[in-house]
């Protein structure tokens, strides 16, 4: 029966408006992400302005597209899962309102999902055989959270950033280097041509006994390097700077993950979030883990960033576990923490 269980996922917590249909929790039938749709070609200009965060305008077209691509109708759906936090209250409310309407009109359960938990489930979509206990690093423009869990649904945040998220540091450094946008992939690409040891940059908190991270000071160190080099009238070697900066971030992330995996005695380590697509992070971590006979997992790149397939998947498993539907009084929780 579960194979026929179709979950509609809805995600609108930050920039992206996304809807997806997932069968049986792990099979993605469609996953529509607003920034990746060629709206003009599709609608011939019916959607006039496609800026980010236009959730109200984009929600219905995105849901329609998700159903059409999956080849299903509202009547086929078994449940609707929606992100209710953390995020921006305005965007969250648009998604929640859409989800409530669909759940009520079609008499199917409404399942409330934590956005961070969604990112964790992206790994279980890409690797259906994966089993906890695991250590998982969710690392993106907005998050740098190190988690440990023995059971799905029961997460322990063991470390997080105390200032900037790692992805934010990538974006800001790329901006001042004029490396291109989005910053993460631009630096990753540039770094391949540079020397990671060319410029001496700090590794904040790498020897700190906690699992917490800090990237604000590293960002400032890069800015100081750029200013000083310019003041001396010298040319900046962008490839070397990108490589050195990326190496500093990856060294810190790797050190903390390795220590966490060791302390918790786990064999499986997961990456999730947009920065999980960084090639240097994947390679270095894979190498270090392999030395210890441990394994690294990360989602396919298309479900690393914010998307609704991971929300549908998390919603499906929450529903299977608890059979607990959210009420129609479900509210947005902008500061939602894992485990609430």
């Amino acid at each position: 029966m579960s194979e026929e269980f179709l979950t509609l996922g809805i995600e609108s917590s930050c920039d992206e408006t996304s809807a997806a249909v997932v069968r049986g929790g792990k099979e993605v039938l469609s996953n529509i992400i607003s920034s990746q749709v060629d709206w003009h070609r599709k609608f011939g200009g019916v959607v006039p302005e496609i800026a980010s965060r236009k959730h109200v305008e984009l929600m219905n077209p995105v849901i329609d597209e998700a159903l059409a691509e999956a080849g299903v109708s509202f009547a086929d759906l078994s449940a609707v899962a929606v992100t209710f936090g953390p995020g921006l209250v305005g965007g969250l409310l648009v998604g929640i309102s859409a989800a409530k309407s669909i759940a009520y009109a079609h008499d199917i359960p409404l399942v409330a999902v934590n956005h961070i938990e969604g990112h964790i489930y992206a790994n279980f979509i890409s690797h259906p055989e994966l089993e906890p206990p695991v250590v998982c690093l969710t690392v993106s423009g907005g998050h740098t959270d190190l988690l440990y869990f023995e059971d799905l649904g029961d997460y322990e945040i063991i470390g997080r950033t105390i200032d900037d998220a790692a992805g934010e540091a990538f974006d800001k450094v790329a901006r001042v280097m004029e490396a291109g946008f989005p910053g993460g992939p631009a630096i990753d690409k540039l770094a391949k041509k540079g020397d990671p040891e060319a410029i001496d940059l700090p590794r904040p908190m790498i020897n700190d006994s906690s699992y917490d991270f800090s990237f604000s000071g590293l960002k400032t160190a890069v800015l100081n390097y750029i200013n000083n080099t310019k003041q001396r009238g010298e040319e900046i070697n962008k490839a070397d700077l990108a490589a050195s900066f990326q190496q500093a971030v990856v060294d810190v992330l790797t050190a903390k993950i390795m220590r966490a995996a060791d302390d918790k005695g786990v064999d499986n380590v997961l990456l999730s979030g947009g920065v999980a697509a960084n090639s240097q992070l994947r390679e270095q971590l894979q190498e270090k883990l392999e030395e210890q006979g441990k394994e690294l997992y990360y989602p396919e790149t298309r479900i690393c960033t914010d998307n609704a397939a991971m929300i549908a998947s998390a919603g499906y498993f929450n529903w299977q576990q608890n059979q607990e539907a959210a009420g129609y009084d479900l509210n947005a929780e902008p500061n939602l923490q894992l485990g609430e």
Partner: protein, 156 residues
């Protein structure tokens, strides 16, 4: 105008904390300066001065972080805003004209939605040295800045 120099992250936080403890419901504080000049660090201090115990992190990605201390604190970052229109989608005015304290980084991106009355704070500097300038953009902040000056003088 009040000019204060700090020479470490800790000092910047301490200064922010002193300001935070003097803020009142409805106050708006704008933080201006280049990347890496200490705006978010100073905001951490303001939050600490207002009794926020939750970890204060950069709001760049989410654009808004909300905290609760003795007052509600709204920490906004308009760095990623490209056009004024996006501020309506964000609910910018609902956020800043509330009964708590609003801290706005990159306020110049607000264009015509920029509030009329606020405490303007500018950051510049390199390495560990920072110069923080306080410019009251409303009468109610003149006394507050004078008080802050006394406080800082007294402690030095």
């Amino acid at each position: 105008m009040l000019k204060i120099k700090t020479s470490s992250e800790e000092e910047t936080i301490k200064l922010g904390k002193k300001l935070g403890s003097k803020l009142n419901p409805g106050d708006i504080v704008c933080l201006q300066g280049d990347l890496g000049t200490g705006k978010t660090t100073f905001a951490k201090g303001i939050c600490a001065g207002l009794g926020v115990t939750a970890p204060v992190t950069s709001p760049t990605y989410k654009m808004v972080n909300e905290y609760r201390g003795e007052l509600k604190v709204i920490h906004l970052d308009l760095y990623r805003i490209h056009e004024e229109d996006e501020l309506y989608d964000l609910g910018f005015e609902e956020y800043i004209y509330g009964d708590g304290v609003a801290i706005i980084e990159w306020p110049d991106k607000a264009g015509s939605l920029m509030p009329d009355n606020y405490l303007d704070i500018h950051f510049q500097g390199q390495g560990d040295d920072r110069e923080v300038r306080f410019i009251p953009q409303a009468n109610k902040y003149i006394g507050l800045v004078a008080e802050l000056k006394q406080d800082v003088d007294f402690n030095n």
